[in-house]
């Protein structure tokens, strides 16, 4: 085990994939530039050559279709977008080709394509650099969707995505890039479709993904100090979704709070609440709740984003309300020393 940042863990996963399988190729805007996509692709072209690791024209849709074609030929392409918002130009190739190919040709050929999409937040990323559209992609049969929250999962899920025979949308949050964690050495994979319990408790089930998992960890540990033991489930995969773990947890706790990095309406959180209401209505002792981003784009000015995202203290407040226990979350909010629009002092922009 090594302590690596989330970004270094992704770099490690790409390096391992490129090493163990000559069919893996890695491309995207800025892949070989001096910044190396926030360090995630740094050094890869020098090690593996420009035939396998390369920059690309500003042509998201074609470059996605080219990934589909290369995958059909037998390669395992990894395409990276520095913001998810740019990948929206490629929805035709993702939805009509990558997601459909195996089904619409009767299972004749799979498309082993991994598409990394980095999602921004804060520091004025604004309406078109900060969208978390996991619900969109999870809505498409034929895609798999993953959202790691820890450095170890970033590596393990990316390796699983690359070596999965299906198109996988790998949603990577910019605010997590500097997060350090234990990362296993070598080709260690985290299975797609399996959530992970990060804290165990019987009072309430909290389901989260990506940065919401980080917020939830702060909240759950604060709640534990106040005598409330929450079950915290980090989804890791959005599609397929680990219904078994969520349902079993709710059966035990009777309460469900789902956190989402995307907008409330049509969210993954809504799907989870609906699914549990159908499967485990009798297990619920209180109305389920969702905490998600408002149904507005994220504004740019720091003055306009102060209350936009769900923070740990709001999670505490929601749990306290659901349990009908007064818990003052102000001390938790007071612990945060950096401004609200950055993940930590390490982040000084520009994106």
């Amino acid at each position: 085990m090594a302590q690596l940042t989330f970004a270094a863990a992704i770099n490690d996963a790409l390096r391992i994939a490129l090493t163990i399988d000559p069919r893996v190729i890695c491309y995207g805007l800025g892949t070989d530039d001096p910044k190396g996509v926030f360090g995630t692709t740094a050094g890869l072209q020098a090690q593996f050559g420009a035939e396998r690791v390369f920059d690309m024209p500003t042509a998201e849709n074609a470059m996605t279709g080219i990934g589909v074609g290369a995958a059909l030929y037998g390669l395992r392409p990894v395409l990276t977008h520095q913001r998810l918002d740019f990948a929206l130009l490629s929805l035709d190739q993702i939805v009509n080709n990558a997601a459909k190919w195996h089904f619409m040709f009767g299972g004749r050929r799979a498309v082993p394509l991994t598409i990394r999409m980095i999602m921004g937040r804060g520091w004025g990323q604004g309406p078109t650099h900060s969208q978390n559209l996991q619900a969109w992609f999870a809505h498409i049969p034929g895609l798999k969707v993953v959202m790691p929250a820890t450095a170890g999962d970033a590596k393990g899920l990316l390796l699983s995505a690359i070596f999965d025979d299906n198109p996988v949308i790998f949603l990577e949050h910019r605010w997590l890039h500097n997060l350090k964690g234990e990362v296993a050495e070598g080709d260690v994979r985290v299975p797609l479709g399996r959530a992970q319990r990060l804290r165990r408790g019987d009072a309430i089930t909290i389901v989260a993904m990506s940065t919401m998992t980080a917020e939830a960890l702060h909240a759950v540990d604060f709640l534990a100090d106040h005598g409330v033991a929450a079950d915290l489930i980090d989804l890791r995969s959005i599609r397929p979704l680990d219904w078994d773990m969520i349902a079993a947890s709710v059966k035990r706790t009777g309460r469900l709070l789902v956190l989402d990095t995307g907008s409330l309406t049509g969210s993954v959180a809504g799907e989870i609440v609906a699914g549990i209401a159908e499967r485990g209505w009798n297990d619920l002792q209180a109305a389920p709740r969702r905490l998600a981003v408002p149904d507005f784009p994220e504004a740019t000015s720091p003055a306009l984003t102060r209350t936009y995202h769900v923070r740990a203290e709001q999670i505490v407040d929601a749990v306290a309300a659901m349990l009908q226990r007064p818990i003052d979350s102000a001390p938790l909010a007071a612990r945060r020393t950096h401004p609200h629009d950055v993940p930590g002092a390490w982040f000084t922009g520009p994106f």
Binding site: G65, I66, G69, D92, Q93, N96, H102, G107
Partner: protein, 327 residues
């Protein structure tokens, strides 16, 4: 430019022309029976391009196409019975009944797939060529497209990358003057030559009469030779005309988007009849040989339709399989 094909190749071209025509007309004839329950975009009048591909590309070369793909699939060597079965929605169809006329595949013949979104397979074909270049084969990736696909952004993006990486891509553009009911003049500036657009992006190009199968053969033979020698992408613009309605089995000159006179002028340049007449005049074939060829094709087509009609439908549960590959 390559000289005209020898007698053997000329006869092969006639066979492919007639076979594609016969298949398409049989689909049109039977379509009103209501057993082929999916949209069909027929290639009657446009057979020459696919026929030339049939004798120019190798089996191991790969091809992709769009919604009007029956001829391309057959030209690339796709299995006829599996295609007809697919249009009938049968389990023995090339896509197991999940794709229909607009989603054909026969990887054994190098036909890697046709899809329904105009321009959608253009980057896929370029990606296949990227794989070829990475593995150092001398294969060619053939992308069939029409004049409508030239208007899609993905065409420019894909061609740019193919030129940038000098990929072995043969763009085969059938310009049939219409996108559904919309004539070229409403979609592209007057006087523009589509091949010039491709040339401006850096492809090597040629234009020709897409109804003259020997001319198409000649242009394609030269392009393929250059591609195998590492020339980088080629773009062929071939002028042709669809006889039937955009989608469906009928003639539709009466609805007002094109004139009967225009149709008649193109019909007078029927790629099948013109080539046949030429070969008879040259003494390469005679009436008896034509009759035998027609009988052989009639037999093959009848057999394919009979097999497709007799084949079982997929089990209803198959609707919920094949979503993901692997366990």
């Amino acid at each position: 430019m390559s000289a005209r094909p020898d007698a053997g190749v000329s006869r092969d071209l006639l066979y492919h022309l007639k076979r594609i025509r016969r298949v398409e007309l049989e689909i049109a004839r039977r379509y009103p029976e209501g057993a082929m329950r999916c949209p069909v975009h027929l290639s009657v009048g446009q057979e020459a391009v696919a026929a030339a591909v049939a004798v120019t590309l190798r089996r191991e070369d790969l091809a992709v196409s769009g919604h009007r793909a029956h001829a391309h699939y057959l030209g690339k060597g796709g299995d006829l019975t599996a295609m007809i079965a697919e249009i009938y929605g049968k389990a023995t169809g090339c896509s197991g009944g999940k794709g229909g006329s607009m989603h054909l595949i026969d990887e054994a013949a190098g036909f890697m797939g046709s899809t329904a979104i105009v321009g959608g397979t253009i980057p896929v074909g370029v990606g296949l060529a990227l794989g070829m270049k990475q593995t150092g084969t001398d294969q060619i990736s053939c992308i069939f497209l029409g004049d409508g696909a030239i208007e899609a952004g993905v065409f420019y993006e894909s061609l740019n990358f193919a030129v940038l990486k000098r990929l072995p891509v043969l763009f085969v553009c059938e310009n049939n003057l219409y996108s559904v009911y919309t004539p070229l003049a409403k979609r592209q500036p007057a006087g523009r030559c589509i091949a010039d657009v491709a040339a401006a992006i850096g492809a090597r190009t040629a234009s020709g009469d897409g109804n003259d199968v020997e001319q198409v053969w000649s242009l394609m033979t030269d392009a393929v030779a250059a591609l195998r020698a590492g020339s980088g992408p080629w773009f062929l613009e071939l002028a042709t005309y669809r006889w039937l309605e955009h989608c469906g089995p009928f003639y539709d000159n009466d609805i007002g988007y094109r004139s009967e006179a225009e149709f008649r002028a193109w019909q007078a340049r029927d790629p099948v009849a013109c080539h046949q007449a030429r070969l008879i005049e040259r003494g390469v074939i005679d009436a008896a040989m034509v009759a035998r060829l027609d009988a052989d094709i009639d037999g093959e087509v009848a057999q394919a339709f009979a097999a497709a009609e007799a084949a079982p439908f997929p089990e209803p549960g198959a609707a919920f399989t094949d979503l993901y590959a692997g366990p």
